[in-house]
Each structure stands twice: as C-alpha cells, then as structure tokens.
Subunit: 315 residues, 2 copies
C-alpha cells in the first residue's frame, strides 16, 4: 500500500507526523505545496517543505509553527544592524538548512534531491516530495492589489482582504516525477488551507490526473472546525471570498475531486449536507493537540480510506 | 595629509586601530590584503577585510583574533548535522555580514563598495579599501604540495612546511582605483606577515608604482620581535624558507621598498644592521597589548614618517 498525503504548512504537517508514526517509509509519500516558496537573501525558502521536514524530524518549533526548536536569532539581529531585510526572519540553525540547500541546488540537484538529502541529515526516513521541481508561485489578489504570498502572509500578516489567487508557473510546471501514482492506494488531503496550500498542489498539471488514474479513494480532512480555522487565515479568506466559513463549504470546494470527507465531531450535524454532495463521510476528533491526537486522526483517516471512502468512489 | 596603511590580519589591524584613533577618516586609508579571500558555502570570505572592519568597529573577537565578539555557533553546529563543510567556521553574527556582502555583490557592487556599506552599517567611518576588486588568491607551496591559503592556514593549521608562495590573479589584477596615491604623504606597512599579508598587496600591479610616485616615505613595522612572531606563522615560515626569524631579515625583505624601519625595543641591538641596509630606523615598543599600546605605536610611526624616515627617502 502507498498512501499519498497532500499537505501544506503546520496543520497538514501535524497529520503527516501522525501518518509517519503509523506507516512505514515505503507506505506513505508526502506531497508538499511549494507555492509559498520564494527567494530571500539569496536563499531558496520553502516554508511548507521545511515545516514538514522539521516536524517529521521532531525539530519543529511547536510555538511559532515554523522554524526550529530552540532557535536563536543572532544572525537576524546582526543583519538588521547591517541594513539587511529582516521582515522574514531566519533563525541561526534554520540558516544551516538554507545554506546547505543553496549548495545542493547550485551543485545541480533538484529541489526534490536537496530536500531528500537534508531530510536524511535530520534523520527523516519518510519521503517528502515537493509538488514540483519547477517554480510555482502563489499570488494573492487583494483589495490593495496583488501580493506575493510571503508578502501577504508574513510581511502583511494576512491583513489585506483577499479577492482571489493565481499560481504563477503552475501551467508550465511538471508534477514531481518521483510521485508513484501507479502504486497509490489512498490519497489524503491534509487539513491545510484549501486556497493557498492544497489548490496549488492540485494546480500542477498531472497531479489530479495521476491521482484519478490511480483509482484510489481520496479523502479530505476539514481545516474548518466549528466555523473557525484551527490555525491560519482559512476562515478569514472564506469570509472575504463571500463564502461561509463552514466545513460544508470546504467539502463543496473539494467535492468534484474527493470521494470522502472527514468532519470534526463538533460539526457532526453537517454530515447530511456533506453526504448530499455525493461524498462518503466520517466524523471524528480532528483537532490535534497531542502526538496521540495526530496518531489517532491518522488511524481514523486510514480506516476511512479502507472502508467508507471506497463507497464514495466515482465510477 | 593622507597616510596609506598596508595591512593584513590581526597584527596589522591592531596598528590600524591605533591609527584610526589618532587620525581623522580623511587622513588615513587602510589598504587590505585580499589574497586570503575565498569562496565558501556560496559566500565571499574576506578574512583580512573583515578582521579590520570588526576591529575598527570595536566588534572583533579579542581572543580568537578573527570573527566577532560574543559570537555564537548555532549555524555551524546545525550545518554539521546536515553534512555541510565546517572546517571554516562562520559565527551566527558573522553570517549576517556574509549574507549582506553576497547580496551587495550580487546587486553589482564591487568588493570595495560592499566593504564600505558594511563598514558604515557597523559605524566605521574610516576608509577600508581592498587592495584590488579583482580576485587575487594566495597559493602556499609546501613540501606536501600547493595549498589554497585557507586550507594551509585554517584547515591544516599552518602545519605543512612552506617552500614559497604564488599570488594567483595578481598579474592581471588592477590596483584599487579608490586609493588616492597622489595625496599620500606617508605609507605604513603594518606588522603583518610579510609573505602572505603584505607581499600580495605589493604584488598588485600599480601598488608599488603608485606609492613610489607619491614620493612619500614608507615605513615598515617589524612583525618579528625578539626572534618570534607576535601571532601567526611568520617566524615558522622564515625558518622553513631557510631565513633566520629576525627583525633584520624582515628589514632585508622590505629594504628595496621602504625608507624606514620600526624596530622593537627588545631588538634595539639590531638597529645598526638595519641602518646598514640604507634604512632610517626608530626603536620603540611595538608589542600592542592594550588600546594605549596601539595608539602609542601609531603616534611613534607617524612621528617617524614626519622625521627620521624622510632622511631615508631614496632619491
């Protein structure tokens, strides 16, 4: 069996950690959004890839939700003194990853190759695959005009009101050739932001097709619980796009692509509406506070893929 | 008046700090060896330029003799974990300088321009000029074969027995056009290593000529005191080259170029031999332990340039 997990940042990485604890390295492949990637200070920054790498290495910063545990900031402080850009902070340890990645990329390695080598250095044995080795850059359209993703997300702290999204480069990008679609027995869309974490992954030509041709059930875990996002701007974006911030709306967003939908217990009353979309459903506790929560949700999702979600398979 | 001070690493930087404390920014120009420069981890490393910059900024590490005060090493530790090269250690704060310099160079600035901007950021108002903006790389010939300077100096800790030196690129390098030769009223060769700190500076076409044409007196401060080097491999190199490690031999090394020679009080008995080489001499305390020592030596050197060293001027 090979499970494909499509993921973005922190929320998705939590479920991926659960999956990595219950599945062997050969049983799961993590396909990560790179729409957030950008060049900064001469480094290739890949926030979602790094968040997952640090999370699986048990080296992630549990408070910030990005960067490394026990991080220090002497580099950024000194850079500020020298008049460098510091709106996007790089920790002293995190810099080592970025210097190493630049070396590997400069030596001709793909982002996939560099990611694998860095993950190995951190003791991660599960496969972390960028959605593509080609640049795809998420552009956030706002009432204040278009913003590069990190300008919207980090520099402007998601304040501007969003009106839509573009994934520059997606049309001409190639899906990561290392994704073993033909072996895939189940697909999990992690509880990441549908608009800026999952949609960029699905926008890469060949991604949807590869998953469809695998014939495997596809289940999405709602990032919206009780009308709010666990983390990040998902709910705010939905409201700004004129859509109620509900799990049902997330289900509608994915309805044409997924066969099953995982609803949090607090949204149990939405199950009928989601089923009315033609999706199989399962209701469980999806808020992941502890490692056990992550493992429990991973088990529930895998059980759903083996059982109910099969029923939802589009013929 | 404009004093030109030719300098290398730590020893030279000490005298430069003294000169910077007694001379206004418009009265002195520091011309720095870049033969030690190399590319490492994708950064342009310029050890002597940085040692002087940090020294004049009062930010140098007084113990190590390189890098910054109160430095931390989280980057290097994390890089080691990722399998990166760590024989040449970059501190977390020092990295900020290197990231900033790469940005400035990538934006098309010369090493001179980048150096000036970084120095300004650190509050240094005196002029620090790399000997050239073109790459010159010191090659150390040893009984074990030729070694790039930093491999000899840092990686191999000066252990291999030296047989000679080459300054790759020197022949085709242009002397830094910002050096105001026509205004120079005195030249100081700081107590740096004659072979790998000062000779590379003098090997840049136009450097000796520019100084000669200025007609200014040129004085060298002996880096050898009492038969030993205050710091670094100067004495060891002289022995390996079959030359006694004495202040007289250093005077011979510079005799064709300098008009005056500064001898340490402990080598006072060598004064006659140095004068026999046709050089004016002055005897003073040259070992710089305190800031006052640095200032006192700077004053003694300037007085020598104004007085006795004039007498030594070659006609």
């Amino acid at each position: 069996m090979t499970i494909l997990a499509l993921t973005g940042g922190v929320g998705g990485a939590k479920l991926c950690l659960g999956l990595a604890r219950v599945l062997a390295p050969e049983e799961v492949v993590f396909v990560v959004n790179t729409g957030d990637d950008f060049e900064h200070l001469g480094f290739h920054i890949s926030p979602d890839v790094d968040t997952l790498t640090y999370t699986l290495a048990d080296a992630a910063n549990p408070v910030a939700g990005w960067g490394r545990q026990g991080e220090t900031w002497h580099f950024t402080e000194a850079l500020e003194e020298l008049g460098g850009e510091t709106w996007f902070r790089l920790g002293d340890k995190d810099l080592a990853l970025h210097v190493r990645r630049r070396e590997l990329l400069a030596a001709g390695q793909s982002l996939t190759g560099a990611t694998a080598q860095i993950a190995q250095g951190l003791g991660v044995s599960h496969r972390i695959l960028p959605m593509s080795d080609d640049p795809v850059r998420t552009l956030v359209h706002t009432r204040d005009g278009p913003l590069a993703f990190q300008h919207y997300f980090v520099r402007d702290r998601c304040a501007p009101e969003v009106t839509g999204f573009d994934f520059h480069g997606a049309a001409s990008a190639s899906v990561n050739p290392a994704i073993p679609f033909e072996q895939v027995t189940g697909v999990v869309i992690c509880p990441s932001n549908p608009f800026v974490s999952v949609d960029p992954v699905l926008a890469v030509p060949g991604m949807r097709e590869g998953i469809r041709h695998s014939g495997a059930p596809v289940v999405a875990v709602s990032p919206i619980v009780g009308g709010a996002a666990i983390k990040g701007p998902t709910a705010k974006m939905m409201q700004e796009l004129g859509v109620p911030a509900t799990t049902v709306e997330v289900a509608k967003h994915y309805a044409q692509f997924v066969t099953g939908f995982v609803i949090d217990a607090v949204d149990a009353d939405a199950e009928g509406e989601v089923q009315a979309l033609g999706l199989a459903t399962t209701v469980t506790q999806t808020v992941m506070r502890s490692l056990d929560d992550r493992i429990d949700l991973a088990r529930a999702v895998l059980a759903f893929l083996d059982g109910g979600a099969q029923a939802g398979l589009k013929s």
